[in-house]
Symmetry: C2
Subunit: 327 residues, 2 copies
Amino acid sequence: MGERITLSYGDGMRDTYNIIRDVFLSSLSNPSLRELNDSARIGEFVFSCDSFTVKPLFFPDSDIGKLSIYGTVNDICVSAAEPLYLSLAIIVEEGFVIKTLEKIVSSIKIAAKNSGIKVVTGDFKVVEKKKIDGIFISTAGIGKRLKGRSSSFRKIKVGDKVIITGGIAEHGITILLSRNKIFDFDIKSDCQCLNKVLIPLWKKFSSIRFMRDPTRGGLASVLNEISLNTNLGIKIFENNIPLRKDVKAASELLGVDPYYLASEGRAVIVISKEKAKEAIKFLHNNGFRKASIIGTITKQSKVIIKTVSGGERILDFSYSLNLPRIC
Amino acid sequence: MGERITLSYGDGMRDTYNIIRDVFLSSLSNPSLRELNDSARIGEFVFSCDSFTVKPLFFPDSDIGKLSIYGTVNDICVSAAEPLYLSLAIIVEEGFVIKTLEKIVSSIKIAAKNSGIKVVTGDFKVVEKKKIDGIFISTAGIGKRLKGRSSSFRKIKVGDKVIITGGIAEHGITILLSRNKIFDFDIKSDCQCLNKVLIPLWKKFSSIRFMRDPTRGGLASVLNEISLNTNLGIKIFENNIPLRKDVKAASELLGVDPYYLASEGRAVIVISKEKAKEAIKFLHNNGFRKASIIGTITKQSKVIIKTVSGGERILDFSYSLNLPRIC
């Protein structure tokens, strides 16, 4: 670790993982934090939080308001809990246009209604011009745990199957394209709430071991976190990973690897091999038509990708995007 | 309301009250939010959140880390609930010194231990240099409600007594003096956790009607919020308000009214007149030696202060500090 924070500490990959372990866990350690889950389990509830600094504030099919609600809703539901209550802390820059704030609040209202979560408490702060870039939103959420269900690295076994619920990298590439007006693509953020499908999925399948939404750091980071925390490996088949052609083309033009780009409406699911196909059928029937079994948990503790051309390579965790404010 | 956000929208007084009502409540309205309490009641729990943007990050006797824990701990305990769990969302600027971050996390650790709250979940984000001023922290907290106890405007009656638990304006003036190195005062922030005294106080006195910590906007704003939400008035006796001489002198030098300056370790309590003196005795015996009965709830819906010289004036809510980042 260097002397100063660099952008890589916030990109959701190796450096982020390291600073959370070395600065936060080493000092604040307790069993809930150590689990490194998307939310903390407290009795019959889960508790989760997130900050949103995305730039631009508005982008195809979504905005910071919607993102700040669904981000926390999704963290709760991948933790096998029904989203119930949300807190909303907003910090804006002096000079921020009130109509823009109203537009964001209106988007928050719709997202809260859609996902069924209630915004019950809030905070609003203003800082001087140029001391913050526009508006940052922090949300924290409380969910009610589903009986007999949990997401835990410890439940993952060799032979389990890995599922992704839809096309990867669509949110991340949308943000990058919104900042870079040179290229013209018709790609939208995948930002959506997952609870309407994932809660019934949890209820139906008791052999779901683990679930996480691949936000910052993308699919590759979730797979590497699984490997790091289980000492197991994952073999992934590139052929099976849902990746839109235009998302792939845009990634190549911008020089980024889509496996590391954020989704905001997808989940990575680890489930017993016996139930994987049935789970895919359920996901297909409930609107997640691109859901796919992308790989298998293995013994050797690394993430290997079998490429379209038949070769194999390691899907590394040390890659650094240095791209801030994707969410 | 103008077209753009000004600093006054964040100072905890009239403009803040208005924007919360007009932009947030009008759109997100639900019974919990409408209560405008320091936290939301959800079943047997309360839920509260706050953001901290204080500048400077370190100031006499405290820092942004300690403040971000005690701020939420206090919001929970004035709501008649025992602080249990905390979420911690941190946004830092690229280039932020890691040793400074470690110092803040260490302060968070001590504050969490002191107040007995557990940091169970968190988030860490990095934004580009100059897109945020150093570090902003958002915390959200969950507390367990005390049986048969609640803080509510609706419980306040004419004749009830108003108590303040200690000297006012000490945190606010400390921050202003830290920014302005011309004057030399030996004043420290009053930042402290209140739960160790207030929880036993709640348990002992069933006739506590309402409690709030006078942070942004200070004592004057809490009194005015009481008046606005009850349609009752308050008569305050200047003589009885604990205000250190040096705090008063510093306020005069800096041209600010101490009645509007933040405390971060005080509570305003409304209690039945029969029990007020007994409560003061309890507070005195538990370390809050400057706790004082400062006034009475009246019929006429305004806040009147009886000055030291014997005159009377209205303690206005339209005053604007335009001083950002006090907490």
